[in-house]
């Protein structure tokens, strides 16, 4: 029947496979490793690197829990404790949570929208190496006992030149610069990939919910991250060259830091959490075996959360003596967040209620998310109220709250996502039975660790103290929390064992082990280097479930260079073809030289003009056009649709 229309045959597919394999091949060898610009390779590197930092941050958490397990413990000294809680917080926020979400998106978004790479593959590689350099730098200093020690939000004046001499805070501030550059790079390329490279037919109102969540998240990154770049830059200027932004003696103001930092810091929480909402929607839909109920309300809730997220920052500052009108405004804004969150929870519950559930590990993690996140949301509504906030400010109640929203809101869906997409990335399933055990250990361990902290906070235990006297009576609950932390650690180890075993001997997954809804399940697992053999077209909101038996594919792209299809922003109708750049070492070189420059600037501003030179050379190498100008395509370098035949042909 399809022969009556323009069509392709098996023979065309074989030809295309051979040609694409050659032109999209990932380079090999050491230089090749650092030249790779494939979104699957870079995405996996992001995720694996972020997981290594997650383990390091987790070990720091265990050290703190050991120290706090009993009163007047001497396991860690106060200075060590300061460094450890600072590095723990900074690691989890900047080196784990944000990059792991970016990495998942770098891997998944091109596949979900039906294209072959992100819009700017070299920028993508550059962003990854910036992130890696930042992480390595902060840990290098941490291991030589020069780790940052002013808390993950480094309040001035504590972090200013007067109270934090030495280089510790500078290291922290530069690390932020590295990771923000990386996040901004990913945000830009994701927005352009999503808006301009969607498969024909995937109009905006048919985009998968995960793609929506990453679009919203990327816009948040673009408006939030500049604030932290500005404030860390001002801090470094205050510390290194003697400006007075945060120095009240010369007309500066320490509170300026808090405004700038939280203008970034509050959206930061949502830009960790919004991708997780995308995971949840995807997993809920697939394991309920129905379309997610309330597509439009879910999308609008994401957008509303993003907008509201920028109007809440002062609720971190209720204890600083801001005007009462301001307090009331930010209380109301904070409570409003409960509305889109409630709408989303309602839509997911509606989907689960009316679906035919498959209780596999990913769904368990999502259900765990709903339970924990609701508790975190409730303590959030409590904290939004100024009198309660003043009472429990800087106590373990706050620690409990944000671990409930961050671990509950991001890490649980993330682990669900790992189990869900592991087969796509590796070709093998993770073990479901071990997965369930992991989930229950993590769920129980998590609540054991953090629920008692609510009580500790209400009883007045401040955060960031390295020990406490026995007569305060905080010992037993702290011991309970420490036990819980070790249960969580066992769960994480079990997850790693599961991943390692499944990688070698897991059940072979095939293309679509979950009967998934989105385009990545239409290609082989693990993802081939070129992604789709022929770019797909889409005829409904659920690309896979709505595909007709004879859903057309895109042909006519040249296969002797890395061509992709650019489509219109709203309707995703084909507009033109464009060539994506191939592998090159220069983004890596640019990241390394820029890293050297930024680290050197901490120690000797005079070195900066000299180090600008290698950065400039690497950037020139990156942008200098190489090779011949394009020539018109010879016909043998593409597979074109065969003209329609008369229906009399068909057997």
């Amino acid at each position: 029947m399809s022969a009556e229309r323009p069509h392709i045959t098996d023979e065309d597919a074989l030809r295309e496979t051979a040609a694409l394999r050659e032109v999209w091949a990932e380079p090999t060898g050491i230089v090749g490793f650092f030249s790779n610009v494939s979104h699957t390779a870079i995405g996996l590197r992001y995720v694996v690197t972020a997981l290594v930092f997650f383990l390091l941050g987790g070990i720091e958490a265990l050290l703190m829990r050991i120290q706090l397990a009993r009163p007047e413990n001497r396991f860690l000294g106060p200075d060590q404790y300061n460094q450890i809680f600072t590095v723990h917080g900074s690691t989890m926020m900047f080196l784990f949570a944000v990059p792991v979400m970016e990495g998942m998106a770098v891997y998944l978004i091109p596949l979900m929208v039906g294209t072959r790479n992100v819009a700017f593959p070299r920028l993508n590689a550059f962003g990854y190496y910036m992130f890696l350099c930042g992480g390595l730098m902060v840990y290098a200093f941490f291991f030589i006992n020069a780790g940052p020690d002013a808390g993950w939000f480094a309040y001035t004046p504590l972090s200013g030149p007067q109270y934090s001499p030495g280089k510790r805070v500078d290291v922290w501030a530069q690390m932020i610069t590295f990771t923000e550059v990386s996040a901004l790079a990913v945000a830009t390329e994701l927005i352009v990939t999503i808006l301009k490279m969607r498969a024909p037919g995937m109009s905006l109102n048919r985009m998968p919910l995960y793609v929506w969540s990453m679009l919203v998240q990327s816009f948040m990154v673009i408006f939030a991250m500049p604030a932290v770049i500005v404030c860390t830059t001002l801090l470094i200027l205050d510390r290194l060259v003697g400006t007075h932004f945060f120095n009240p003696a010369e007309g500066g103001d320490p509170l300026l830091w808090q405004h700038l930092f939280w203008f970034f810091g509050h959206p930061e929480v949502y830009l960790i959490f919004i991708p997780a909402l995308g995971f949840v929607s995807t997993i809920v839909g697939t394991f309920s075996r129905r379309r997610v109920f309330g597509y439009m309300p879910l999308v609008l809730s994401l957008v509303a959360t993003a907008f509201l997220g920028f109007g809440l920052w002062v609720h971190h500052m209720f204890a600083t003596g801001i005007p009462q009108l301001g307090e009331s405004y930010f209380t109301a804004a904070s409570m409003m967040i409960a509305i889109p969150s409630g709408v989303q929870i309602f839509c997911w519950l509606g989907t689960l209620w009316t679906g035919r559930l498959r209780f596999k590990t990913p769904l368990l993690f999502v259900l765990g998310f709903v339970a924990i996140f609701v508790i975190g949301g409730l303590s959030g509504v409590m904290l939004a109220s100024v009198p309660i906030d003043l009472q429990v400010h800087d106590t373990f109640f706050v620690v409990a709250h944000f671990h409930y929203v961050l671990i509950g809101g991001a890490v649980f869906p993330l682990f669900g996502a790992f189990f869900f997409w592991f087969p796509k990335a590796t070709g093998r399933m993770m073990d479901d039975r071990l997965g369930r055990v992991t989930f229950w250990l993590l769920f129980v361990g998590f609540n054991l660790t953090f629920f008692p902290m609510h009580q500790l906070g209400l009883r007045g235990m401040p955060r960031r103290v390295y020990t406490y006297p026995a007569e305060m009576g905080w010992g037993p609950l702290n011991l309970l929390a420490t036990v819980g932390a070790f249960v969580m650690a066992v769960a994480v180890v079990l997850f790693l064992v599961n991943a390692a075993m499944s990688l070698r001997a897991g059940v072979v997954a095939g293309r679509d082990p979950w009967a998934g809804e989105t385009l990545e399940w239409s290609i082989p697992s693990p993802t081939p280097e070129y992604g789709f053999l022929f770019l797909p077209t889409v005829s409904g909101r659920s690309a896979m479930w709505d595909a007709r038996p004879d859903q057309p594919v895109v042909t006519g792209l040249r296969n002797d260079r890395r061509e992709i299809l650019v489509t219109n922003t709203v309707e995703a109708t084909p507009h033109h073809r464009e060539v994506l750049p191939g592998p090159t070492i220069w983004p890596f070189a640019s990241a390394v030289t820029l890293c050297a420059l930024l680290v050197a600037s901490i120690f000797s501003p005079r070195a900066v003009p000299w180090l600008v030179l290698p950065v400039g050379i690497s950037l020139l190498g990156w942008f200098w056009p190489r090779g011949k100008p394009p020539v018109p395509a010879p016909e043998e370098h593409r597979v074109r649709a065969r003209p329609p035949r008369l229906s009399a042909d068909t057997p």
Binding site: A3, P6, T188, K196, E250, L256, V554, P629
Partner: protein, 202 residues
């Protein structure tokens, strides 16, 4: 033998030198990021100003207007040849692009020299007081953009001097470079109002 229906795109153009190009979009979002940085510096300026009874602090009167205004005009005029270079690039006119870029660069160098002279004449430094800190930071941030714009344009110019290289990719370079130029000039209008006019009016 099985067959699949196909949507053939081989007749679509294989590049775009206008607002549909991926790199044009990338440039736009980079400018949104840069614009946000400038906006936050403006917010910082007013935040610092808010807490001080006298602004600028004693000894630092509002900076004189004449030369900064002249310099602003130089920068604004430089947009004209760059616009011309853009249009020429879109139409495939290499010589026109080169002439536009060279004129624009000449004006930009004049602007930079003016910037240096005006800056040097300021009666305070970044470490005198918070006012000095924010003025220097705003000037520094904008000057970095001017220098980046200058270097980027030089690179683009050198590339298109070779006729063989004047294909779509480099034409697009001229167009997105022009976008950046517009941003550098446009943002200075606002920052100029901030540094030179706001202390007189507010």
């Amino acid at each position: 033998m099985s067959t699949r229906p196909a949507l053939d795109v081989s007749l679509l153009p294989d590049s775009s030198v206008d607002t549909h190009a991926l790199i044009w979009w990338g440039q736009v979002f980079m400018l949104v990021i840069e614009g946000t940085v400038f906006a936050l510096l403006v917010a910082t300026y007013f935040y610092l100003r808010f807490w001080l009874p006298v602004w600028p602090p004693a000894g630092a009167d509002p900076p004189p207007l004449l030369w900064p205004v002249v310099n602003l005009l130089v920068l604004l005029v430089s947009v004209i040849p760059i616009r011309y270079a853009d249009k020429a690039a879109e139409q495939g006119d290499r010589i026109g692009s080169i002439i536009g870029l060279v004129l624009g660069l000449a004006l930009l160098i004049v602007f930079l020299a003016g910037r240096a002279a005006i800056w040097k004449a300021l009666p305070f430094t970044y470490s005198t007081h918070a006012y000095g800190s924010i003025v220097y930071t705003v000037l520094g941030a904008h000057t970095m953009h001017v220098i980046a714009c200058l270097l980027e344009t030089v690179v683009i110019l050198v590339m298109i001097l070779d006729p063989a290289r004047f294909h779509d990719e480099q034409r697009l370079g001229v167009v997105t470079g022009g976008l950046y130029w517009d941003f550098v000039a446009g943002s200075w209008v606002l920052l100029f109002l901030l540094l030179y006019v706001a202390p007189r009016l507010l």
